[in-house]
Amino acid sequence: MARYIAKRILYMIPVLLGVTLLVFFIMHLAPGNVAGMILGENATPEQIAALEHEMGLDRPLLVQYFDYLVGLLHGDLGTSYTTGDSVTNEIMARFPYTVQLTLVAAVVSILLALPLGILAAVKQNTWVDNVSMVVSLIGVSMPIFWLAVMLILLFSLKLNLFPVYGADSWKSIVLPAISLGFMNMASIARTTRSSMVETIRQDYIRTAYAKGLSRKTIIMRHAFRNGMLPTITVIGLEIGQMLGGSVLTETVFAWPGVGRLMIQSVEGRDTPMVMGCIILMTICFSFVNLIVDLLYGAVDPRVRTMYR
C-alpha cells in the first residue's frame, strides 16, 4: 500500500508539470502589458522597459517557464505582481479558509447525500424517492450564486441567524458551506441512489435474502459498501467541483479563500498568483483523488489486492 501511495504521489509530478506548463502558457497568451499595469498610467516607456527587465519579462517564454519551475522546486512560487509579496505567503494565508470551507461543505453534503440516496434507492419509486430526487435535481440545476444570495436574504436578513459575510465564527461558515455543498450534495445523492439501485439488483443481494438475513442487514452490510464505490469516485470529482465553485461562493460571502484570490488575480493579470492558486488547487484535488483511491481500495478488496 505504501508503495502504491508513493507511486501515486510520484505520478502527480508529471501531471503537475503539465498543469504548470499549460497554465503558464495560457496565461501568457493573454495580451496586455504587465509592467505597464504595475506602474500605473503615469509611467514612461523607459520605466516600463526597466521594470520588465527587472522582472525578467523580456526573456523568452521558455526561459521564464524554466525559471519558474526552478523556483517551484524550491517552494518559491514567485512574487505577486500586484502586492509584491511572496505568492506562497499570500496563498498560504488564504489556503486554510478554502480547506475549511470545502471540507465542511463536503462533509455536510456527504452526510446529507448518503442517507438521502440510500433511502431513495431502498424506497425506490415511492414518494420518498420522488421527493428526494426532486430536491437533488433542483440542487443540481440551481446556479450556486443565486442560491447564495437567496440564502443570505433568508437566513441573514430575514431570520438574522447567520452573518452575511466573513470567516470569523462557526456561524460564518454555515451559509457558504450550504451554498457550496448543495449542488454537490444533489449529485452525490443521485449517484448514491442509482448505484444503490443497481447494487440491490445484484445476485449477491438475492443470495443474501436467500440466507434469511433481514432487509436492514442486507442494506447495511451487503448493499452499502458495494453501492458506495461509484459514490466515492463521484465524491472525489465533486470535491474538485467544490474547489472550482469556491471561486463563486467565496466572492459572494467575502470568504477570504484561495478561490477569491484567484479570480482577483485573474482580473489583475497577476500571473504568478494565478499559477500559484491553480497549482495549489490542483495539488489539493490530486490529493483528494489519492484519498478517494485509497478509500476505494479500503472498500473494495479487488482493488486492494491489485496494488499489494
Binding site: 440545476s141 446556479p143 493579470r269
Partner: protein, 300 residues
C-alpha cells in the same frame, strides 16, 4: 444457393418491405414512457423552437439592444410579461433571445468537446498502447485542474467574449468526453462482434464508426445531455465573475448576473433568468436520466 442467377422478381424481394424496428426507435418509445423525461424533452423542444424562431417573436435590435431608459425596471405586467431591465428592455424578449445564446453556447461547446474528445477517446480506446497513454496523460493534466478554474484561466487569457467562452468551455469538456468515450470503446472493443468484423475484413475506420461508436452511444448521449446542463450552468457562473458574454447579447447567465444587482428591489430580474437556467438544466437532467434508463438493457 443453388438457384441460378436469374433476376429477382419483385415478389421474391418482398421481404425488403418489412419495416425496420430499430433500437433507436425502441429506445425512444421506452423513453416516452418516462413521464419526467418526456416533460424534459417537451420543454427542451419548446426552448429550441423559441431559440430558432426568436426573431419572429421579438426583433433583436429593437427589443434587446435599443434602450428605453424611461421604462427601466418595471415589474412584470401585461405589457412586459417578464418586466423590463435596467435599460428598459423587455426581459421576455431578452430571455427568448437569450435562449438562443445560452443554448448555442451549451450545444456548441459540448458538440466541440464531444467531437474532439470523442475522436481522441476513440483513438485511445481502440488502439491502446502508447497512443492511449499519451492521450490519457494529457487528459489527466486537464482533469487535474478543477474544470471551473480551467475555464476561468482560459477565458481570462483569451479575453471575455462569446467565442472565447465557448472555446474555454469546450476545452474543459474535451478530457471528460475523451475519458468517457475511451471507456465506452474499451467496453465494446473486446466484444465478439468487433472481432467478427475484423474476421470478415472490415477495415479499422469502418470498425470504429460502424461497429464501436454506435454501440457506445448510450453513456455518451447521457453524458452529453448532462454536460450541456453543466456547461450552461458554468456559463452562468463565468458571467457572474464577469467573464461571460458581452452586452448587449442577452445570455441567460449574464442576465442573471446583471440582475443580481437588483435582486432586492427588482427580484424578477435575477429570478426569471435563474429559473430559466434551472428549468433547462432540470430538463436536460431529466432527459439524461430518462435516456440512461431507456438505454439500460437490463430494464428492458
Amino acid at each position: 444457393m443453388n438457384s441460378s442467377a436469374r433476376p429477382a422478381t419483385s415478389e421474391e424481394l418482398d421481404f425488403l418491405s418489412v419495416q425496420k424496428n430499430s433500437q433507436f426507435r425502441e429506445t425512444f418509445l421506452r423513453l416516452c414512457q418516462n413521464k419526467a423525461a418526456v416533460a424534459g424533452m417537451i420543454f427542451l423542444v419548446f426552448l429550441i423552437l423559441l431559440a430558432v424562431f426568436a426573431d419572429l417573436l421579438f426583433d433583436y435590435q429593437t427589443t434587446c439592444v435599443d434602450l428605453n431608459i424611461a421604462e427601466r425596471l418595471q415589474w412584470p405586467s401585461a405589457e412586459h410579461w417578464f418586466g423590463t431591465d435596467q435599460f428598459g428592455r423587455d426581459l421576455l424578449a431578452r430571455v427568448v433571445h437569450g435562449s438562443r445564446v445560452s443554448l448555442s453556447i451549451g450545444f456548441i461547446a459540448v458538440a466541440f468537446g464531444l467531437v474532439v474528445g470523442g475522436i481522441l477517446g476513440a483513438i485511445a480506446g481502440f488502439f491502446g498502447g502508447a497512443v492511449d497513454n499519451v492521450i490519457m496523460r494529457l487528459c489527466d493534466v486537464f482533469l487535474a485542474v478543477p474544470m471551473m478554474l480551467m475555464a476561468i484561466v482560459i477565458v481570462a487569457a483569451l479575453g471575455a467574449s462569446m467565442v472565447n467562452l465557448v472555446i474555454a468551455l469546450a476545452i474543459s469538456c474535451v478530457p471528460t468526453f475523451a475519458r468517457i468515450v475511451r471507456s465506452a470503446v474499451l467496453s465494446v472493443r473486446d466484444m465478439e462482434y468487433v472481432e467478427a468484423a475484423r474476421a470478415i475484413g472490415v477495415k479499422t475506420g469502418r470498425t470504429i464508426f460502424r461497429y464501436i461508436l454506435p454501440n457506445c452511444m448510450g453513456p455518451i448521449i447521457v453524458q452529453t445531455t448532462l454536460r450541456i446542463a453543466a456547461t450552461i450552468s458554468n456559463t452562468a457562473a463565468l458571467s457572474f465573475l464577469g467573464l461571460g458574454v458581452k452586452e448587449p447579447q442577452p445570455e441567460w447567465g449574464a442576465l442573471l448576473s446583471s440582475g443580481r444587482d437588483f435582486i432586492r428591489d427588482s427580484g424578477y430580474l435575477a429570478t426569471i433568468p435563474g429559473v430559466c437556467i434551472m428549468l433547462t438544466i432540470l430538463a436536460l437532467n431529466l432527459l439524461g436520466d430518462g435516456l440512461r434508463d431507456a438505454l439500460d438493457p437490463r430494464l428492458k
